[in-house]
């Protein structure tokens, strides 16, 4: 469905100067600052997959999405989305993809939601009959009925996001890009968005590329994630493999020149053991030689694993 190879995007802007006459020097300079937002990203996404495309702010996520959707032209590398080069076949590509930017609505601000949806239907040449069935399905699935006739500017964020999701799938694209679709939403609204994504993926075999900072989204939706930072891929694979690590026992001992065999103290003065099978035995063996002040058990979770990868 998506094939990305050696994707690189370098932004080039005139160097800015500060100090006296700085503005003038900025205006006439021929020196440029180059910043690569994406530096040699390669990955593939198969039909029907839901992948999490993750990374810290400024990692290059949005730039990648903007290239995949045809908004930006890359500096080098190749991209093929459903057999098309997005920035070269913009119009044709647009028909294959639905896009939701959580930070920015795609709807017409001053018009009732239903009119925005009708306009989207016209722009994508959706025949009247198909529009009607599509709309009916979405009204049920997203509970649009309460605010279908409300101008978009008066919608709550959760309602607006549901409206945006409806607009993105109205023409039944085989591919969906969701850029932070749950940002700023309350727990219930987040749940509604997640359920909708699951449903769309399940019934329509829709491929979904999701960027988010909420790892609960990822855990609920994705089986595979791609982690990027500084424009490079750090990890690409199944979440299960990532979090498939032993639980850990964290122990704090009464002060003293205690040396526990085989384990050294971390910066906070704690001893960390991997738990393999015999937890009571492990605790007993420590307690036999030392006085335990406190202990806790840490489950492997996505957040700490990802933090670990970024820190590398």
């Amino acid at each position: 469905m998506i094939r990305v190879d050696g994707l690189t995007k370098v932004f080039r802007r005139p160097r800015t100067f500060s100090g006296p006459l700085g503005t003038l020097r900025t205006l006439v300079t021929r020196q440029y600052e180059e910043k690569s937002a994406v530096a040699g990203v390669t990955f593939e996404v198969g039909e029907g997959e839901v992948i999490g495309y993750l990374g810290p702010n400024g990692a290059g996520k949005s730039t990648t999405i903007k290239i995949l959707t045809g908004i930006l032209t890359p500096t080098s590398g190749t991209v093929e989305v459903n057999g098309l080069v997005p920035w070269r076949d913009r119009s044709a590509n647009a028909r294959n993809v639905g896009v939701v930017f959580g930070q920015r609505s795609q709807l017409w601000w001053d018009l009732p939601l239903i009119e925005s949806l009708r306009l989207v239907g016209s722009l994508y040449d959706v025949p009247a009959a198909r529009f009607a069935t599509s709309l009916k399905k979405l009204r049920d699935l997203l509970g649009l009925d309460d605010f279908l006739d409300t101008p978009v500017r008066q919608l709550s964020l959760g309602q607006r996001m549901r409206g945006d999701l409806a607009a993105a799938v109205l023409y039944e694209p085989p591919l969906l890009y969701l850029d932070e679709p749950t940002v700023g939403l309350d727990v219930l609204a987040k749940e509604a968005v997640r359920e909708f994504i699951v449903e769309t993926n399940r019934t329509g075999r829709t491929t979904v590329v999701l960027t988010t900072h909420d790892l609960a989204d990822v855990e609920a939706l994705c089986r595979r994630i791609i982690l990027i930072d500084h424009g490079r891929v750090l990890f690409d694979g199944a979440i299960d493999a990532l979090v498939d690590q032993p639980r850990r026992l964290v122990v704090l001992l009464e002060s003293g020149p205690g040396q526990v065999r085989g384990v050294s103290r971390d910066a906070d003065g704690r001893y960390v053991f991997d738990i393999h099978d015999d937890l009571p035995g492990l605790i007993a063996s420590i307690a036999a030689e030392h006085t335990i002040r406190d202990l806790s058990i840490e489950e492997p979770d996505l957040e700490s694993v990802i933090k670990g990868i970024y820190a590398r």
Binding site: S62, K66, G70, L72, R104, D110
Partner: protein
């Protein structure tokens, strides 16, 4: 051709939608149209006052100047009614709204043009057409089908010349170059110099306004032809210039679009 018809149909649809949006602010709309009409009306009222003291400017009588003024204003209004929304381009780009246009299967320029309806420009059109209609009867012109057709072509050509300059300057905003002040200046030149007989400005200015910035071709040259004041063999071809310039401007737009950088989150 099918694609052009589709774009036209969708443009009308988008404009209707933006008009419906604008109608929610009804008073704004009324004020907008009135302001346009009053603004342009006072412009001509000033000429009228001057002409009561000097009955002739560079050999042009009041009716003739009214005809020229009306021709320019009508062309201006017809250029700006669809183009005014392109004027918003630097905000549209800065707010990231332009990204949305690139995500939809319709020419982004058509979407930008359909984004907002030029309201005040309908006031311009009202004054322009009224002036033209009244002046055409008082200006001692023997009207026939060909002359009327030439007039319509001249209006279209003039509108295209203004639209072309406007589009070329606006397209630079795609590379974050702000040409707003420059556009205000060019618009000013078109309206201040384009609405009067070039001869009153004399020599160099007349040459510049004819050949460097082709203000003269918007209304002055065609009006002179209609009023029998100009007999150069190339003058009747004035309307063609607009068609050439708009093609050029569109190419510049496409060129700039390839360099579009979007904005951060």
């Amino acid at each position: 051709m099918v694609e052009v018809l589709r774009a036209l149909r969708l443009y009308v649809l988008l404009q209707r939608a933006s008009a419906r949006g604008a109608m929610q602010y009804r008073l704004n709309t009324v004020i907008g149209i009135l302001c346009g009409a009053v603004w342009q009306g006072t412009g001509f009222a000033f000429v009228w006052v001057v002409m009561t003291t000097f009955p002739s400017l560079a050999g042009w009588g009041l009716a003739e100047i009214a005809f020229l003024y009306g021709l320019r204003l009508t062309a201006h209004a017809l250029a700006m009614i669809p183009m005014i929304s392109v004027n918003d381009i630097q905000w549209v780009v800065r707010e990231g709204e332009f990204d949305r246009f690139l995500l939809r299967p319709l020419n982004p320029l058509v979407q930008l043009m359909g984004n907002r309806m030029g309201i005040a420009q309908f006031g311009d059109l009202l004054v322009g057409v009224t002036l033209l209609a009244v002046a055409a009867q008082h200006a001692h012109v023997r009207w026939d089908v060909w002359l009327v057709a030439f007039c319509l072509a001249a209006i279209a050509g003039g509108a295209l010349i203004e639209a072309a300059f406007f589009l070329a300057l606006c397209s630079l905003a795609l590379r974050m170059i702000d040409t707003f002040q420059l556009r205000v200046f060019v618009d000013d030149v078109f309206s201040k110099f384009g609405s009067y007989p070039m001869k009153i400005f004399g020599g160099v200015v007349e040459w510049v306004l004819t050949f460097a910035l082709p203000v003269a071709f918007v209304a002055y040259v065609p009006a002179s032809v209609v009023l029998g004041k100009l007999d150069s063999p190339w003058a009747p071809a004035a309307p063609v210039l607009g068609a050439g310039l708009i093609v050029l401007a569109y190419r510049i737009w496409r060129r700039q679009l390839d360099h579009y950088q979007s904005v951060g989150h």
